[in-house]
Assembly symmetry: C2
Homo-oligomer: 345 residues x 2
């Protein structure tokens, strides 16, 4: 993939401004944490794995301006920076995992100088970045085993190159499948309210020359009812120990529809998405987003001002609706409680 | 209801321009058939029952300009006008039913003069209009029996006053329920791509002071999964003899989700929506609409230009997913094949 969603360039974080896609391929150069924080907040950069990399790079931005050699002050500064970055997207487990990995550097080097810590934080951030790239390829290769030639696949939101530092999660499966000469046809759900499917998924799939058809979210059942969908692949924002999966709003809807129509429903996500600290999806907090995302479009109102709105960013798909979860360690099938532990612990 | 969706004023058809809602309450005065044809085509006026009334009034517009007393020429002119109106929305059965009722006037008055025919066509059109108003009230009253106080109801598209000459079909149930002092809370699915739910349903429900929450279509399952929906009410564009129902795209999706979550799923439609000539939903042609409805919004593109699009206007909900059909003759329950015949023939 030639899409560079996030990279470290001359001491700054360079990201694609995904709010401008598909109209313009425009980059944002984040020279400080605040700019990056805002980019995460307004979804200029999004997608679970890309958020992990962003958080790690964000810490590097935060320490750029630190002056002096006072270790205690430096540690406090890094921890504060981590906490600050954590407030940008409170539901994103990858973001917190990456921040924890950065914090561990401090814990494991109790005697290191400020200069040494800076160096180690930098290598940790780059390790997270490189790991994401490797992990994408491995997930793609495992997932491609689930695809037959000419399969018609449905996907939701953007779980692609734009959501990671490389190949994507759910879309990585399609890229890998294409590389193996097993072409597939993709139906992308537009994914209201922010249209990540329409704006981002179609954009990157067309760039990769994959046969892509855009649909509104409420058309998915119509296609399944006609027997036109062979499998559904979605990403994940957080997966509980029992396999319950939080992902973009609408994912649960597709999973229920898939069950009714006997279509296999797959989640593709790296181990960093698993939150082994929570037993089930009931413990996953659901971010509620602003009313205006639903009542207006491009600044133009589309509903009466005084209407109430329900606008959850995610929903939780119970593990019973999931056929398998594709990870970099292989394909995990039910019973998930047992097999997730076996594969990932 | 104080909403006058369609009316005959000084020899012209006055309609609310629904493409302008909810921003502006603006009327279009159709002085000729062509203007009305276009208004139907671009959905300035829509909704199955309102289309029936529009078609009947359209015939009156068509005969306004007819000069002379040549009966043969007049009949040909009326038939041509009817055919022309029929091309505006080829899927709308109410439109064709109304046109057939207008044609019947010609058949049943073989000896009438042009002046006499004009008079009879006018009373026929007004009879269709009055009938729609009566039928709305009756459906609303029957449907309200299915609602308990404080029920949380979901609806799709706009099956309200804006879709009829009076009270609406699915929303009529809520209006009637409110009149009977059984308040309910309504969740309106925005209904992509044209957002009739966001633009029209919320607008008219708020005017009627009904507690209304707007959601994106892909959020419906999330609410049902949390046990927050007590019933779903939808309108219909065409119902086959076995109860299979074509309605706005996304209706089938809600019906499948309702079945999974054990939520009752009701269709509200007048007998004019039933097409006894077709045995099942398989025979209902599905109108495919333009790609631009999905790839742009308010003139602003939201997806790459070269992406393919699947944009059906309707889907068909199999009768097995329908709990009951509310008509002006009463509530029809399964087995539909038998009971539709019993109630409506």
């Amino acid at each position: 993939m030639s899409i560079s969603t996030i990279s470290w360039v001359n001491g700054n974080v360079k990201i694609i401004d995904q709010t401008k896609l598909p109209l313009k391929l425009q980059y944002i150069t984040c020279r400080d944490v605040k700019t990056l924080w805002k980019a995460i907040k307004v979804l200029s950069v999004r997608g679970a794995p890309a958020l992990g990399v962003s958080a790690a790079f964000g810490v590097l931005l935060g320490i750029k301006t630190f002056k002096g050699n006072d270790r205690k002050r430096f540690v406090a500064h890094v921890l504060k920076t981590c906490d600050y970055i954590g407030t940008s997207r409170p539901t994103a487990v990858n973001l917190f995992n990456a921040l924890d990995q950065m914090r561990e550097v401090l814990v494991f080097c109790p005697d290191a100088s400020v200069a040494e810590l800076k160096k180690r934080l930098k290598s940790q951030a780059f390790a997270i970045y490189e790991e994401d790239r490797k992990v994408c390829r491995r997930m793609g290769d495992f997932g491609a085993r689930l695809i037959k030639a000419n399969n018609r696949i449905m996907t939701v939101c953007n779980a692609g190159a734009l959501a990671t530092a490389d190949y994507g999660t759910a879309l990585g499966v399609m890229y890998s499948s294409k590389k193996k000469k097993r072409k597939c046809k993709v139906y992308a759900c537009e994914t209201r309210p922010l249209l990540q499917g329409a704006r981002l998924t179609t954009w990157e799939l067309l760039r990769a020359k994959i046969d892509t058809t855009l649909i509104c979210d409420n058309m998915a059942a119509s296609l399944m009812g006609q027997g036109k969908i062979d499998a559904i692949f979605a990403g994940a924002d957080r997966i509980a120990r029992n396999g319950d999966t939080a992902n973009k709003i609408g994912t649960y809807s597709l999973a229920v529809l898939a069950r009714y129509h006997k279509v296999p429903f797959y989640i593709v996500a790296p181990r960093s998405t698993f939150d082994m600290g929570i037993e089930s999806g009931k413990q996953i907090p659901i971010e509620q987003r602003s009313k205006e995302e639903v009542t207006s479009f491009g600044g133009r109102p589309t509903a009466p001002k005084n209407v109430k709105v329900y606008n959850p960013a995610f929903d939780v798909t119970g593990h019973k609706l999931i056929t398998a979860i594709v990870t970099e360690e292989g394909i995990i099938r039910p019973p998930f409680k047992v097999n997730i532990k076996k594969k990932l612990l």
